[in-house]
């Protein structure tokens, strides 16, 4: 018997897609069932009350959570999102309903024993509800009470060897595509770099000292499977600078129809026989490919490594051998000044085991942004406000046409005094000697 009637939510149980309502009900039921087995540290009916509160929102079409409260674990400035319900009398189970962000392992692989341990912990000390995963990448544990926060943290660190992720004005939990672990296109080890940078900057992750949040994301190649270019203050995207490796036999096999194009990604519809000219060569954005004597040719100097041809013929074309990454800066969601995609700062950098190159860029940027960034100003906005030139200056990177999609079209150039012979100070009397009034 559900605690609250949820006639509206019930209508979301039908339909093929996994129903979160069904899931919540299942969870609510299991808590009821297990209340004798487990000494739940937060209300048994937490999920029932969540359903009730949600139903109220479905009826009223308004949110019923209060503006977040500041709660957390000692010494950390992030990792917990405080949340209180505005109808605690009706729904006492969710009067407190804080979220904990658990730093996911890079690439989001798990062993079941680890996750089971987490489930046990979370059933015991929390609502049992999770997001696998949050948008930033964390394991999100949804809903617990204030007294449990330290307990959970203690168990996570002591028993599971596992730390919290970020929230607040600090480095947020970095995330990576699966990269080399299972992808033939990874130009560097995204998981390892993600792990290393997470470890290197633990202090920045846990103790907010930034003007605002800051995100790292690691994509192994320009396909962008972790969408770093859209949602990371610093995006690390794999690339290469030598030639695409061509297996002409495999090209012939594609042309001959022996291998399905694009790894079979279009198999659900009859698109007709594969046409290398139409499907690859004509679609190459730089038009740097051609067939000659049955062989595929690429003028690699003109290739921008967009991945299209490689995506279409993974068995014939492979990324180059001289691999590294590009760094782009400033991506963010629209608040405050409009959304940004990452802007290219470092066209190419090799990744070595010291990670010195990467760290230098990161730290130069942070030094500047921490000095100059206004309160709640993302890196992208500081870049907009102070200019891309400033970013180059603080990172010691030379201006390069690769930094722009096109040169400025306004001629409003801010010359610096030291660049102009004679400087800016002029004497009006000297001027008037040549130009009487």
């Amino acid at each position: 018997m559900p605690k609250h009637e949820t006639p509206l939510l019930d209508q979301l149980e039908s339909g093929a897609w996994p129903s979160f309502v069904a899931d919540l009900k299942r969870q609510a039921g299991s808590r009821q069932q297990k209340q004798n087995e487990i000494e739940f540290q937060i209300p048994v009916d937490v999920v029932d009350d969540l359903l009730g509160l949600l139903e109220l929102s479905y009826v009223e079409k308004e949110v019923h959570w209060k503006h977040g409260g500041i709660v957390g674990v000692f010494g950390y400035g992030g990792g917990v999102i405080g949340r209180y319900c505005d109808q605690p009398e009706k729904f006492p189970g969710v009067a407190h309903f804080h979220t904990m962000r658990v730093n996911q392992p890079a690439g989001k692989y798990y062993k079941t024993d680890y996750l089971r341990q987490l489930c046990d912990l979370w059933d015991f000390r929390g609502s049992g509800l999770t997001n696998m995963h949050g948008s930033t990448g964390d394991i999100v544990l949804l809903g617990t009470t204030t007294p449990q926060l330290e307990e959970i943290f203690y168990e996570l660190t002591h028993k599971m060897d596992q730390d919290l992720g970020g929230s607040g004005s600090n480095l947020r939990t970095p995330a990576a595509c699966l990269g080399e672990s299972r992808c033939e296109w990874a130009c560097y080890d995204t998981q390892e770099l993600c792990y290393q940078m997470t470890m290197e900057y633990q202090d920045e992750l846990h103790r907010p000292a930034f003007p605002y949040k800051f995100k790292f994301k690691f994509d192994g190649c320009p396909n962008g499977c972790v969408a770093s270019i859209a949602r990371a203050d610093m995006s690390f995207i794999g690339t290469w600078r030598d030639d695409i490796r061509i297996d002409q036999e495999a090209v012939a096999a594609y042309v001959g129809g022996e291998i399905k194009p694009n790894g079979g990604a279009h198999a659900g519809k009859d698109w007709g026989p594969f046409d290398i000219q139409k499907e690859v060569i004509d679609l190459c954005p730089t038009k740097c490919m051609w067939m000659e004597g049955g062989k595929l040719n690429i003028n690699d100097r003109e290739c921008t490594r967009c991945m299209h041809c490689i995506n279409v013929m993974p068995r014939a074309l492979r990324i180059g051998n001289d691999r590294g990454l590009s760094i782009l800066c400033g991506a963010k969601a629209p608040i405050l000044d409009g959304a940004q995609l990452g802007s290219l700062l470092v066209p190419f950098m090799k990744v070595d085991e010291s990670y010195d190159g990467v760290k230098e860029v990161i730290e130069n940027i942070w030094d500047w942004w921490m000095e100059e960034g206004k309160n709640r100003e993302r890196l992208g906005e500081t870049m907009k406000r102070q200019g891309f030139q400033k970013l180059l200056e603080v990172t010691g990177i030379d201006p390069d046409p690769r930094h722009v999609s096109e040169p400025r079209h306004n001629p409003y150039i801010f010359w610096k005094e030291e660049e102009v012979p004679g400087g800016f100070e002029r004497d009006i009397n000297d001027y008037r000697s040549r130009h009487p009034k």
Binding site: D23, K111, T112, R182, Y195, A230, A333
Partner: protein, 387 residues
């Protein structure tokens, strides 16, 4: 419900404290076939919707079965997934960047039983627990956010809208008959906790009424200068007003803010800084639909989604107008786009004037950019248009 301590001593928080240990190293969690072949993959193939095979230099193969998930999952369902992983996959599984679950096996014969197992599991209401799909030129999971489940600023629910849209388009999750991959995202407010601003189709919670000012609370709850500074359009200024004390009935003058309603575009940023400025409103709140964004650099550059429907009301619980709109968008795309053509590339090729014609959506004044200087660059500075 007795309090059971973990061992943590609130009086000595630093005792035994472990901090800054970071996440577990991913290598602990890699299935053997993955670990052994890391960095040595040669190519992959999608054997059928939801089933990938990756071939390594060593000759090893890993078969991945991907299935959908509502992301918002109780431990019950999660444990069920772990069970499946134990049963078929030697106790390993992973989650994708779009919240699908991936089960991996190291030989082809293990695929079918795994798949059958996953497909067979359903909730009582009839929905799949682990529908297999989400690969290739088809629909994958909708990236989304908290909505009415956990956040304080949403203008709509995330889980509900996602469920409705995935139900409407479910077939496409298990098919690969789109021109290219189609990435739908949902964010429940302008903060856009996701890559909604760069999605093929984006569903966005949006307020349409300026904050209510709770004059009694502003002074207590907010730093007024921060609230003023938070407004991107400078709609807010410090002000004073007279209120009647709830208890004493006395009139008193308090510091508060004033909002120029006509300058407000309902972003809620002031509310983030000041809880006394709530926005939520049954009639005001609803959805904006954006389309044509992308993230990959393939063929064309990453790009922002554009607003194509200014408002869809919150028709709980099943948002029929939303579902209809998504259907219109997807159908028109599938009908009109060429192989490999992403949604936005298609719209740009046919031109936005045709886009509104073929999708049957109405073009309203709301869709014309009027936010700051860059707006100009989205107007049409050419005579090249289609009748």
């Amino acid at each position: 419900m007795a309090f059971i301590s973990s061992g943590y001593n609130p009086d000595k928080p630093m005792e035994d404290r472990i901090t800054d240990i970071g996440p577990r190293h991913y290598s602990e969690f890699l299935p053997p076939v993955i670990k052994n072949n890391k960095g040595k993959w040669l190519w992959h193939e999608i054997l059928e919707p939801g089933v990938l095979m990756h071939k390594a230099e060593s000759g090893d193969e890993v078969y991945t079965v991907r299935c959908g998930s509502p992301r918002l999952m109780g431990t019950e369902t999660l444990r069920e997934a772990l069970e499946i992983a134990d049963k078929h996959c030697d106790g390993y599984l992973r989650f994708t960047t779009r919240n699908n679950i991936e089960f991996m096996v190291d030989s082809k014969d293990k695929v079918q039983p795994l798949k059958d197992d996953l497909q067979s599991r359903k909730h009582e209401g009839g929905s799949y627990k682990f529908p297999v799909g989400g690969t290739g030129a088809g629909l994958t999971n909708i990236v989304h956010t908290q909505g009415w489940i956990h956040c304080h600023t949403p203008a709509s629910d995330a889980s509900g809208t996602v469920k409705v849209v995935m139900d409407e388009l479910f077939e496409e999750f298990q098919q690969m008959r789109f021109p290219a991959q189609l990435r739908i995202s949902m964010a429940c407010c302008l903060n856009m906790c996701g890559a909604v601003h760069c999605s093929d189709i984006a569903i966005l919670g949006y307020h349409r009424k300026p904050p209510i000012i709770d004059h009694k609370e502003v002074e207590n709850l907010c730093e007024i200068p921060l609230a003023v500074a938070a407004c991107p359009t400078a709609a807010i200024r410090p002000a004073k007003t007279t209120i009647t004390d709830d208890r004493t009935g006395e009139e008193k003058t308090v510091k508060t803010v004033a909002i120029k309603n006509e300058r407000c575009m309902f972003c809620g940023n002031c509310y983030t800084m000041c809880p006394a400025l709530p926005l939520t409103d049954a009639e005001g709140d609803g959805l904006v639909i954006m389309a044509g964004g992308k993230v990959s650099n393939r063929i064309s550059e990453p790009k922002f989604s554009k607003v194509v429907v200014a408002f869809i009301p919150n028709e709980t619980p099943r948002w029929p107008s939303l579902a209809k709109c998504m259907r219109q968008l997807v159908d028109a795309y599938v009908k009109g786009a060429k192989k490999y053509e992403r949604f936005g590339d298609w719209a740009e090729r046919i031109g936005w004037e045709r886009f509104f014609e073929v999708t049957g959506l109405e073009f309203t004044h709301h869709l014309i950019d009027d936010f700051r200087d860059p707006a100009y660059y989205t107007w049409r500075q050419t005579t090249n248009f289609k009748f």
